[in-house]
């Protein structure tokens, strides 16, 4: 058997973590392994014995890029256990905070990380040299998202203002209104950006995915709804564990998730769009029509466009919420501790994030479960790569590596412990 192996270090700076290995036999990919390190397991153990009110702050540290998602799922799950309902303006403020995170995360990924793949550039630096105005524009959009998170959350990373039941402090009307000019400018910029993204060439690749997302009676889903799929799943969040189960696989510290009786599934922007296109705002909906993105889409590369449509939606929704905002009388709903189990799913930028807490009668966490979107998407990513076998086998090692990276980037995997330490460059002095 003649085989060749393609190994891509995703996180070359973290020893032994974050790598993609493909083994090809002729035109077939006989093995695809995406190795990811996943700190949520560490945090599940850490949450045991802690007060349930600490869950948002502690779990937000799992990921520096999507702390709002962890805070939101933690708050909703604990509130579910305590029988607390958070409605009205407090609920709207949570949605506004989530809009900020979607904007920041989506724009960074679309323009800085994924666009270079489509254009054949090695990285964002090369893209910036060729199309500086596009990159500057994307940074202005991101900045509008940053400002939302900083204003509502208290700071851009690990927002400290979120608590179970609501917020420590709610913003004044004028504080939010001050964000409107930049949000409106960012909305126009996001529409232009989507038009640009739609000019890219999308590889012809489709699979018969089971796409899973929340579905809310009236809203494009962020914080709540039933869990539905393109293959008939339609469950209350409390049935999550009976239908979606995690399995250990030998090559990864991340658990992989499957739908009982069927197999892998995918969540994220494409799944949300496919199942909730009728819940978009008119402006976001019109943008999807303009770029030809339809709910029948099953091409993971076109998830780039779904991300672009969601960016427009998040900006539009943020403006709507701010324009209608009247500060609530109290910043949070009072809590009464009691024993119980609480669960929640919210829509992180890259897919569904599930939290489950078992509390004793003093509100102390007895057990915690956290299923992040990337571990839920991981098996499907590997299956994409297996299906790309013939295409990859016909390429040089360098081309195949780039194409495989491009395919993984479709999902914007959450590499939680992605470290950013500096590496020093050493040059030999005086060498000939």
């Amino acid at each position: 058997m003649t085989t060749r192996t393609i190994k891509v270090d995703i996180l070359a700076r973290v020893e032994g973590e974050g790598a993609l290995t493909l083994v090809l036999d002729g035109e077939r990919v006989i093995d695809a392994r995406l190795e990811l390190f996943e700190p949520p397991r560490l945090f599940e153990a850490m949450m045991r014995g802690r007060a349930c009110t600490e869950a948002p702050d502690i779990t937000a540290r799992i990921c520096g890029i999507c702390p709002v998602a962890y805070e939101m799922s933690a708050c909703h799950a604990v509130e579910d256990a305590l029988g607390v309902q958070v409605g009205g303006e407090l609920r709207e403020l949570r949605r506004l905070l989530y809009c900020g995170e979607w904007i920041e995360s989506h724009v960074l990924h679309m323009v800085m990380l994924h666009a270079p793949d489509f254009l054949g550039f090695p990285d964002a630096m090369t893209l910036a040299k060729h199309q500086p105005e596009r990159v500057r524009g994307s940074l202005r959009i991101k900045k509008a998202g940053n400002a939302l998170v900083a204003t509502l959350g208290g700071r851009e990373i690990h927002p400290v203002n979120v608590k179970v039941g609501g917020f420590y402090r709610v913003p004044r009307r004028a504080e939010l209104a001050a964000l409107l000019p930049d949000l409106r400018a960012a909305l126009a910029e996001a529409e232009e950006t989507l038009g640009w993204l739609a000019t890219f060439e999308f590889p012809a690749f489709e699979r018969d995915y089971e796409l899973v997302s929340l579905r809310h009676p009236t809203e494009y889903p962020m914080n709540e709804g039933r869990l539905v799929s393109t293959k008939g799943l339609d469950i209350d969040i409390h049935e999550f564990g009976a239908h979606l189960q995690e399995h250990q696989v030998p090559h990864s510290t991340a658990l992989q998730a499957r739908i009982v009786g069927r197999g892998s599934y995918q969540s994220g922007p494409l799944a949300r769009f496919v199942q909730n296109a009728d819940r978009l705002s008119p402006r976001a909906s019109a943008a999807a029509v303009r770029v030809g993105l339809e709910p029948t889409c099953r091409n993971p590369y076109r998830m780039l466009l779904a991300r672009g449509v969601e960016t427009i939606y998040a900006l539009d929704e943020a403006i709507r919420i701010i324009e209608a905002y009247a500060p609530p009388a109290e910043p949070a709903v009072p809590l009464v501790m009691r024993a119980g189990t609480g669960q929640a799913v919210t829509e992180a930028p890259r897919g569904i994030l599930y939290h489950r807490y078992v509390l004793d009668d003093a509100g102390i966490v007895q057990d915690a479960q956290i299923a992040p979107p990337t571990s839920q998407n991981q098996r499907g990513i590997e299956e994409d790569l297996l299906a790309m076998g013939p295409m990859l086998a016909s390429m040089s090692l360098e081309q195949a590596t780039r194409r495989a990276e491009h395919a993984v980037r479709n999902y914007d995997p959450c590499i939680s412990c992605s470290t950013h330490f500096l590496t020093l460059r050493f040059e030999q002095q005086g060498s000939p």
């Binding site: 540290r61 890029i65 990380l113 630096m125 940074l139 991101k142 990373i157 950013h420 590496t423 020093l424």
Partner: protein, 160 residues
Amino acid sequence: MTRAATRAVTRAVTRAVIVGIGQPAAGDDGVGLLVARAVAARGHETRESADASILLALLEDERRVVVVDAVVGGGVPGSVLRLDTGALASGPAPLSSHGLGVAEALELARTLYGAQVAGDVRIVGVAIDPPTGGMLGLSPAVAAAVEPAAVLAVALAGAE
């Protein structure tokens, strides 16, 4: 007044913002965040971020910036270093939005906002061993470097 001259005046009167970069779930990689917190406790303007894209927003606003980050290859863990932007090596292109590093962000800033803007960035590095996975908190050697790194960052922030 030309744009360059306006920028020079703005910078002369504005103290630098100190930016801590790090991932708190990766052990010593989070040292930059803790240094930023120590500096904030002294009343300095700071930012904390898990990725370096925040530098682009600050540099676009023509802010002077002092970056504090962990450094691999910088000697004994806990050593505090003042680094030149030219000393940084770029990493591989990241696979997700979780990956933009300081070297990449500064190179982008040079392209987008000019060499002068990025050249003004000052960097404080704290030497660490390569992280091997998830861990909360700092090792004792790196924790001991938080205070001296904060002192150096403040000195650089105030310097013209």
